[in-house]
């Protein structure tokens, strides 16, 4: 099964409950990559982890979304058409 990176965030008051963290640790081959007072960064198969989090009160789960450095510079997407057919020119379509 494919493994993905998820962020689990505790929505209750104060720090995340250690008992809940233990439930995640006990989950098959889930690996806690990093943690903070209210979050866990977890690598795991999606379904078992989502099922567990839905059963835990006051937690939210999301994919570890990637944010890019914003940029407004224009960019070329393809080489000039006269060169696009050459063997070394990669296709982007």
């Amino acid at each position: 099964m494919a493994r993905f990176r998820f962020v689990l965030r505790y929505l209750g008051e104060g720090r995340k409950p250690e008992a809940d963290v233990a439930r995640v640790e006990e989950l098959g081959d889930a690996v806690i990559v990093d943690s903070s007072a209210r979050m866990l960064l977890v690598e795991a198969e999606p379904e078992p982890l989502r099922d567990l989090v839905e059963a835990l009160p006051d937690w939210v789960i999301g994919a570890d979304v990637v944010y890019d450095v914003p940029d407004t510079r224009k960019k070329v997407l393809r080489p000039p058409e006269s060169r696009a057919g050459e063997a070394s020119a990669p296709s982007l379509d």
């Binding site: 965030r9 914003p70 997407l77 080489p79 000039p80 058409e81 020119a89």
Partner: protein, 495 residues
Amino acid sequence: MASTPSTEYVLLPPQGLRARGTANADARAFLEDAEGTGARGMSLDGHHVPMRVVDSLGADGAKLVELSPDAALAVRALRPDLRLVPVVYYTPAVARREEVESPMATAGRRASASANITLQVVSKKGGRPIANAFVVAFVDYKKRTGAQGVTGDDGKVSLALGSASIKLQRLYVYPVDAHWSIIKKSITVKTGTELTLTPLDLGYTDGVRHFYGNADLGVGKGVTVGVLDTGVTAHPDLVIAGGANTVPGENRNDFGDNGRAHGTHVAGIVAARGTPPEGLRGVAPGVTLRAYRVFAKGQGSASSFAIAKAIDVAIADKCDLINMSLSTRQPDPVLKAAVEDARAAGSVCLVASGNNDRSPVNFPARESMAIAVSAIGRKGTFPSSAAATDEVAAPFGKDKKDFIALFSNVGPEIDLTGPGVAIMSTVPGSYGEISGTSMACPAVTGAAARALTPSLLKMKRNAKRSEAIVKAVLGSAKSLGFDPPFEGHGLPDPE
């Protein structure tokens, strides 16, 4: 006067779908009042707000309402403790083509030498070669075909354009620092063509200085601003009080710029303390500036875990305002929760709307508890040869020199607007000019700091405090004459 068409929104309590508990008593009372209004509308702080309740999840629950854009703005300003979210209708998920650059188009190294054209970028001041400038040559701008590359130490870049001489529709040069970017249209280039860049004049009136001038050094004193970004490097114009690096696996204390210069530029717009023309002055140079690096060393991407963790650290460090010049098109429930936690703890997140050319507002700016910022530009605040001239487009404001930047995302979630076209600011070891909602956001953050009073800052750090901050900031805004989806309440605390 013609009536403005209404849009459907969901009106929600601060958290969850129902207002429960003593902390949500005000929100519950409001939702219970709204339950019985039907199409009559409501009175908010003495203002009549036309609003039709279409559906409800019960007396204390979320409401589906119809509001005009102006009425939505009024609700957001008068009841910042409630979430007002436009109804989103999902369409089938069609995979978006990623804008992956062609390795050939980027480097040009695979093409034969005869097909390459070598250009040289030099400074107008003494003809000095300019290294590390990003040169983008479009043979066909609409199709985005052409070649691009970065200049070496000799200022030269070799581009695989397939001919010894070629007419380009457009040519852009983006230097790393010290010079204005340029655009040239319908230019014929061949090996040896020289491209000359004009040095930045730090005494020049760019967009930030036009709208906010050069503030006294004490302006913003008492306010703590956190900049979540690529980190902030020490600079003669900046005083960095502290910060943290929240990238998994990196040194927590290394919150210097990660090599992209973005965070240092953003920080300077908020709080640079230089004096033109030797240095630059930010919008609120008196604030206490803290830097939180969420982008990994040398990398152009950050994870939601690092960003959410940085928000938590900024809350713990008692940041009043948290600047987030970053965005994604993908919903992120984790960051949404972190932004809401900040609001509950008396801190307010100000977020760039995104640079996808008038697309809908990105996440997390579109979250109701964030302050979403679009970008305006002003003709005459950058040279006529600058690449930023591309961003001039309708709509124009009451003053026809003001325009909404073409790159700026817009929509009903926009709360405020700020100058974001061709903005000069600090970069590691120098100064640079960059455009983006990333630049508009810190200008608004600086202006927000100017609008906060000492008595407001003394309030207990809770949701009431952040509501008071939002009211003060939105209340300081002046419309520039754009419709609400473009400017929200307008430009905060202008001179």
